[in-house]
Every structure is written in structure tokens, then in C-alpha cells.
Symmetry: D3
Subunit: 145 residues, 6 copies
């Protein structure tokens, strides 16, 4: 009920957000937000992905690079794993991801570089499990996403 | 003396760094580092610009976008003004800079967006003074750089 | 033109945002955003103040306390001065502001407490100038806002 | 021995701190501090909870909201799980907690919002285990606390 | 009145704090705290300098190095200028300060190194003014302290 | 192949870095970097440990204290566990480590102190496993390093 109302509230901003998320291969993310607070989830999809990521002026690839950089910079425990997957999905190569880590690491500290290496390595391992599950017709919800 | 020794120590890494700095229109920066510690300055030019910025794998434009993003993310008081100037020098448009601010601001907080707007506005005003000084044959050292 | 289009885009979200800003005594802020990018300004008013600050579930006073806390925590160079003014405007007392500084300072470090004291002291001095200017029928744009 | 001396050193500040902690439902926390360094633990109880949290000027509810906000802002890996439990213990509702996340997330970045959602969801699951253990007369020490 | 009461509250912790501050050459600092909130000032002197800086287990020189490092790491706009002065007062050499900048800068990003260079350079210039004023029998309150 | 080329590139800077790492008891670290990007690993060993940690001007003990402080300050999820081990290896005592936590925690917030306690406690437990494995002739790769 509530969720429907919220979806309605964001209307085609929500639809636009979902389209961006699909291009990025992220349509099944932010599920814990959806479970905890449908309104928060609608805002994330409708505003963050619909209105912000959907803006012209930078290519999707560049928005992704810039977001990856900001997140590596902050060195947070969570929140960037999914961006490595969408980076790869958008055609950013592993070599380019490594270069972003090295470049940003010099502006925000070597441990942000190591934290990025660790998170990227973790999510590649999860990706294998997700791909295997998909192949086997199962769903595997990674705790990292 | 000391400086010469240090320059020698970084050898062609220093030269490569200066080349990158020239491409970015930044050859007269980090002068307070140079004044305080020539060795630190050599390391900044030789390692940061020679060995890091000079790496292949990302274009100079993309390294600049990614660095701008990391610095906007951190919301520090200083250190990003010069990157707005080198961004413009490298052909990144004001519109693109604004998009980086909006994109990053959503990942690191609205005040990092406002701080970026403020610093960008400040440096544009300084740029006018620097350009006017140059035209008049004077040197204007901006305190923001 | 552009600005009008943007305002139209955010429609009554913009109007709702302006109403919240008026309640907070902040209707003349974010002017450098407005000057640099009308679209960014519309998003700040329409989304941040219209859709976020305008939400039910917490009183305006509590949203303000919580925002003051988050900003003191981050210890950024700019972006919190205006929140001290809106706090006072909303009836939060100086004593309460001091308690927020002490409480948050213990969770984010003594220098964030001192930085808060400094910024609060600065803006009180600016407020005197703004009030004097207003009384004299002049406009005084504080560089801190 | 040492611990006793330290307790003595903080004297009734320690007692006052424990009273505040009991009101917050936190009396069994910071046990790894207690194990590593009794003096550090005495300082945490005596100074942080006795002298800071015990101050007048803000209600306990408001101190908790403000602390929750500061911790969500910092996006740290640990240290906020316990504050969700004490928030609920003090009568702050889940809806209000969600509003704090949304409000703060706009000042410190969307990933701090997602990190908060994740940590809150984790601790709710731990709470179930702790409550079940208590009911069964067992003690369950959550690694998140 | 209020101040006296507060001083009384912290009793010999306040006295011990002032002794540490004198050893560090900092006895006239935190004056804006003192002006805004005598109680906050008493807590800073009594707890931070009396109970924390006054602890055994690390030499004063090492506490200062460690504090300098933490503050350089955070890259905040204010709060570290005074620590360069107390470092010099305690016999830490400029060369050692530069090494701390280089070491920490690699763990928290090059702009924290440049921010440190800038703040150190600023405070050296202020120190000249303070020393000249002192010689001339005047008092010069630096806005950076 | 690639790795060899990179090693060659850093030449004796790499060798110098490995010598510093051995003195610190860290010769088997950064293995996920080595696996992901040999060039990044060479830069970490050659530049960070060879050129930065290997500098004169501060003792190795002081560089370690200062690095510990910077990392505790940042409160990151990873990257500091290994520095507790090298601190102990270099003869810094547990008591001194605790003092660094208390000192830094007051400049960057109580949760950075608790995060440090947690990470230090975790790595001590891992150390037991590593030591037991070594004794038994097995290798135990800690996920925390």
C-alpha cells in the first residue's frame, strides 16, 4: 500500500530511475532500503537515479568513474561494492578501475587504495557466486550489495 | 644546493612530472612546498605528477575528472582550487564541472556541493586577476593556489 | 529563461521548498549556487528543502538539530554558518547549540568542537552587521553564507 | 586492582555515568574496552557518559538524536549499532530513526544513508537473538556491540 | 561567577591542565571557547589537557607528534595551527614536522600534506607578528589560534 | 612477466622498500594488491616503503606512531590491523598503543577510539592463529591483513 503510494508520488521519476538502474545492471539493488522503508527506496530510485544519474552533461561512463572516485575517497565500509559491478557492466575495464584506485589513493591516502582493492576483490568473488547461481536458476543475494 | 640534490634524486621523473604539469597549466604551483621543503616539492612533482598522473590507462581528462571528484568528496578547505583551473585548461567545460559537483554531492553530502561551488566561484575571480596581471606584465600569486 | 524552465521543472516542489526556507529564515541563501547554476539551485530548493526538510516524521526543530550535528561532525570549512542562524531563528537557544557542540565534539573530535565555536562566533558577528545593515535599509551579503 | 583504582579515580563520575547508561539500556556495553584497558573504560563511563551525556541543557532524547546523526554522518564501520538500540530504548521510533537517516544522508552522502540502513538492519537481527537468549536465560554477546 | 563555579567543578584537574598547557606554550589559547562558554573551556582545560594530555605512558613530545598526525590526517580548516607552535615549543624541529607531513600525507592524501604546509606557513608568519608585538609590549591575538 | 618489468622499474627502490618491510615484520603483506596489480604492489613497496618510510628525519618507531595515529583518526574499516602488528614488532608496547588510541580518540571522536580497540583486539586474536600455524609449519593468511 504504502509502497504503491510512494511509487505514485515519484511517478515517472521512479520509472526513469529504474531505466538508468537497468542500464547499469543494478535493478535488484538497495533491497534492504526497500524492506525497511519503501519511501526511502522510492527517493533513492526516483531522485538519485532518475533525477541525478539521469542528467545530461556527463556520459554514464563518466558519472560512474566520478562516483567510484568519490566512494573510494571516502573509504567507507560499504556502499562501493555495487559500483564496481556497474562499472564493469558499463564497459569500464579492470585496468581502468585500478587506475582510478591509484589516482584517487594519492589524493585520499594509501589505505583508501587498499580498502578499494579489498572491496573490489571481494565483489569479484561474490560475482562468481551470483553468476553460478544464476546459471543454476537460483538467486544469490550477496550481503555486500 | 639541497634542491639540486633532490632534483637529481628524482632525475627524469621530475622532468616527466613537469611535462604533465605544463599540459595541465599548473607549472607554477606548489610554490609554498618548494619554499618550505625542496625535497617535498621534488617528490610531489616527480612521484605524484611524474609517476602517477603520467601513467597510461586513463586519459588526462579522466584523471582530472576523477581527482576533482575525490577532492570535492573530501570537502577540504584547500587543495581543490587549482584543479578547477587545470580542468578548464584541459578542456573540461563549466557545465561538466557543475555536473561533477552535483553527482559527487549526492555521494558525499550537499555541503560538499556548496563548498565546491564556493571554491569554484572564488577561483574564477582569482583567475580574472591573474589574467589581468599577466596582460599587464605583472605576476599575481593567488593565495588560493 | 533557463532558470524559469528549471523552476517549472520542480514546480510546486520548489514552492514547498521556499516555504520551508522562509520558516527557517533562510530565503536569501544559496545565492552563489543560483548565480552559477540555476538548475542546481532549483534542485537544492525543490529536493533538499521541499522534499527532504519538508517531510513529516521529525519536527523542524529536530531536523535542524540533527543537521547541525551532522555538519559539526564533518568539520568542513563552510556550509554550517547558515545553520546556526536558522537554528536561532527556529528558537533553538545558544545554550542548546553549545550542548550540541559538546555532545558531537566527543563523537567526532575536539577540533570539530573548536571549529564549531569559531564558526558560530564568526556568524554572530556577521549577524550584527546584517542586522545593522537591514536597520539602515542596506543589504549586507555575508561571505560566510 | 588496577580497575578498582581507576574506578576510585573517577569516583562518583563513574556512578553517574552508569546511571545514564542504565537509562539508555547500555549498561553491558564497551566490554572490549573494559577487557583491554580498565582505565580507558572508566574514562568512557565517567567522562563520556557521566560528564557529557549527563549534562543538562538537552534532553536525553535530543542527545541521542544528535549522536545518532553525528555517527551516521561519519559512516564508520562500527560504533553506531549500539546507538540504534539505545534510541529505541529511549522511545525514539523506527520512523524517526529513518527520518534521521534521510536527513543526515543528504548532508553527508547517500552511502552514509545506506550504511545506516545496513547497520540498523543488522542490529535488529542481533536484537532478536539477544532477546531470545535472554528469554532462555542465556547471555548472547553480539559482536556488533 | 559561572566561570568560577566551573573552575571549582574541575578543581585540580583544571590546575593540572593549565600546567600541561604552560609546558606546551599554549596558556593563552581557546579564548573564544572561554568567551562563549566558560564551562566548555573548563572541560577543555580540565579533561583534555589535565586528564588526557597529562597521562603517563607516552612522552609529551610523542603525544604532540601523534596529535599533529591526527589533525593533519583530518585536513580540517582550523584547529592545527596551534599544534605547530606547541610542537616547536616542545623542541620538535621543523625538519621533523615536515617528515610528519610527508608520512601522514601518504596515509590520508596529498591535499592533507598541502593543507598542512599552508597552515604551517601561515602560523610561522603569525608567530613573527606575535613575537614582534610581544617585544613591543603589545598583545597580538592571532585569528588562527 | 609484467611483475618482473615492474620490479625492474622500481629497481633498488623496491629492494629498499622490502628491507624496511622486513624490519617492520610486514614482508608478507599487501598480497591482494600483488595479486590484482603487480604494478600497484611495486609502487606500494618501492615508493611508500622505500621512499617514504625509508626517509631519515624521524625514527622508524616515530613513523609508526604517527601512522598509527593517522589511521586511527580516519576510522576506516580496514588498513590499520597490520600497523598494530608492526608496532608491536618494532617494540611499541601495548600500553603505548592504548595511549595513542586515547590521545587520538579525543581529536577524532570516541568511536574512532572504540573502532581502534576493536581492530586491535581482532588482530591479537588473529596473531595467535598465525603464530600457532607457524609453529605447526602451516601458513595462515589472515583476512584482516
Amino acid at each position: 500500500m504504502k509502497k504503491k503510494a510512494a511509487k505514485h508520488k515519484y511517478g515517472d521519476r521512479f520509472e526513469r530511475g529504474m531505466k538508468v538502474l537497468k542500464k547499469m545492471g543494478r535493478e535488484n539493488l538497495m533491497l534492504n532500503q526497500k524492506a525497511l522503508s519503501p519511501e526511502m527506496y522510492e527517493m533513492s530510485v526516483g531522485h538519485l537515479f532518475g533525477d541525478v544519474w539521469g542528467r545530461p552533461g556527463l556520459s554514464l561512463r563518466e558519472r560512474q568513474l566520478v562516483t567510484l572516485a568519490a566512494n573510494i575517497a571516502m573509504g567507507r565500509p560499504t556502499g562501493n561494492h555495487s559500483h564496481y559491478l556497474s562499472s564493469l557492466h558499463l564497459g569500464i575495464t579492470q585496468r581502468e578501475i585500478i587506475e582510478v584506485m591509484i589516482q584517487v589513493g594519492h589524493y585520499t591516502g594509501w589505505p583508501t587504495l587498499s580498502n578499494a582493492v579489498r572491496q573490489y576483490t571481494e565483489i569479484l568473488e561474490e560475482k562468481k557466486k551470483m553468476d553460478a547461481a544464476k546459471k543454476a536458476g537460483r538467486v544469490y543475494h550477496s550481503k555486500l550489495l
